[in-house]
């Protein structure tokens, strides 16, 4: 075989093999979906893993954190209700690197909300953040994350107030923690309190997705509050006139509201014949709990390839 022919054959083999390896890898990836994760969890002991990492436990923790994010992201995209590997992955991550505060902050937010927005395990989220506080007692963001879970997911307002109080005592803590702790006693469970929390989330994060999420929640809160308020006004109208208003204009004409109320998308609210207030397009705003037609499920965010969905 002359040199030129050898070159041609070798180049052809190289290119064909390259194409073949890519195709085979795609088949392998399809076959082994989730295999890496299963393998990771053969090791349940962070102590053992730390020894195996030969002192590079920080790097291994980074790897575990990335896997936790991927695990959450893929399940979130699939709108899954089972996130059973999330908690062990987060525990391993934070045991390997107890100073990785991002894993407590975001990890707890993956764990706490109900599926499909999270794993629906707020107690585990609390344990995770408490572990974080134990190792990072001067990080006020962890107290905020913990208070947030107590308030939003567990509805334990007393604990939430205590946690914000603890956080406010930390050196260089953000001033809103003291404000939250003070307001909590009087206004727990009110829309204003939730608005404060989401506004704080919006103002203290640098992550675009989290900002977006905070905005969505703030918009939803506005809708919930508007609908509650408008339905109360409809009740007043009925008490005054003995009948339900036929449209929202009746409320305006009666001087109960100043003008036609609109939702955050600019659409006027709709009054139903049975006196309820509904949105004209209930799928336009995420997370709303009021203003939905009967049986209509609260719209959920469209999943993105990368999480997180929380604060």
């Amino acid at each position: 075989m002359n040199s030129r022919r050898v070159n041609v054959v070798a180049t052809a083999v190289l290119l064909l093999s390259l194409a073949g390896t890519v195709m085979t890898l795609r088949t392998l990836d399809g076959m082994r979906r989730g295999a890496t994760l299963r393998e990771v969890l053969y090791f349940r002991s962070p102590k053992m893993l730390r020894r195996m990492s030969l002192g590079y436990s920080g790097l291994v923790a980074d790897l575990y954190w990335t896997r936790a994010v991927q695990y959450f992201g893929s399940h979130h995209i699939a709108q899954a209700s089972d996130f059973h590997l999330l908690s062990p992955l987060l525990e391993m991550t934070t045991d390997l690197d107890p100073k990785m505060t991002v894993a407590y902050q975001f990890g707890s937010n993956f764990l706490a909300p109900a599926p499909p927005n999270g794993a629906g395990e707020p107690e585990k989220a609390v344990a995770l953040v408490e572990h974080g506080i134990q190792h990072n007692p001067d990080n006020w963001k962890l107290y905020y994350a913990l208070g947030f879970i107590y308030y939003m997911d567990l509805k334990d307002y007393k604990k939430a107030a205590e946690t914000f109080e603890r956080g406010a005592a930390v050196p260089k803590a953000h001033p809103f923690l003291r404000l939250l702790a003070a307001q909590m006693a009087q206004h727990a469970g009110e829309y204003g309190m939730s608005r404060m929390l989401w506004t704080a989330t919006y103002e203290t994060t640098t992550q675009e997705q989290i900002r977006r999420n905070a905005i969505d929640h703030l918009l939803a809160l506005r809708v919930d509050e508007d609908v509650t308020q408008l339905e109360r006004i409809v009740g007043s109208y009925r008490e005054r006139t003995g009948q339900l208003p036929s449209s929202i204009n009746d409320l305006v004409r009666a001087g109960l509201i100043g003008g036609m109320p609109v939702d955050p998308t600019g659409q006027p609210y709709k009054l139903t014949p049975d006196g309820r207030i509904e949105l004209r397009n209930p799928d336009a705003i995420l997370y709303i709990t009021k203003g939905l037609p009967p049986g209509h499920r609260s719209p959920q965010p469209k999943p993105e390839p990368t999480p997180p969905s929380g604060k």
């Binding site: 890519v22 890898l25 392998l28 295999a35 890496t36 896997r67």
Partner: protein
Amino acid sequence: MNSRIANVAFNTFREAVRDRVLYNLIAFALLLSAAAILVGQISIDIERLVVVNLGLTAVTLFGVVIAIFIGIGLVSKEIEKRTLYTVLSRPVRRWEFVVGKFLGLTGTLLVNTFFMAIGVFLALLYVSRHFERGDFSITAALYFIILQFLIVCSLALLFSSFSSPLLSAVFTFALFVIGSLAEDLRGFAAAAKGITAMLAGTVAYLVPNFSAMNVVNQVAHGEPVSGQLILCNTVYALLYSAMAISGAVLIFQRRNLK
């Protein structure tokens, strides 16, 4: 097989044996015997697990070290000692020399792995007193280890065809480590966006994929290995080796040996 390739391969094997490469088997035997006896005394019910995990990991690491340290010298040593000129002055073509070297090194590792596999099974018999049905999957893990050696040998030879022995060792070892995390890398690439995703995806598909060939944990827990995985890994290892060897041939063809 072309008799010239066979001759180069056989001489490569003979040279490795003469270099006392197979002495590593003694270290391997000592390691496994000590582990089997020690773990039996100081732990509870993980003797089998330790023997399989430690045995297969040791087979992999010993083999990879041998593949790298012999592979990187295959071309450069021949040039340094000027024996390459003697070989190429005979009717041996450059591509035949490269392919023969690859086969010789692979053969050395096959023999080495064969004896180590016997060691693993003997240690397993010692701790378990009998073989179980699940132990059969250990042969699949050993087969995958051999497939990994094929790729490592071809990479070592590829780097050896244009780089210094030290750099070749570094490159090959680095690719072995990256390749062992290849599935993660592809996962990260899939989660990335824009140009990062494109770059990460390209790298992820170019580096060797050793992740799918590492079933040590799986077989240590007695889980079977699917036939489809065996088939895919075989095809992949052969194609990847062919790709690296073709690269080595192309470089070596152009190399000025004067």
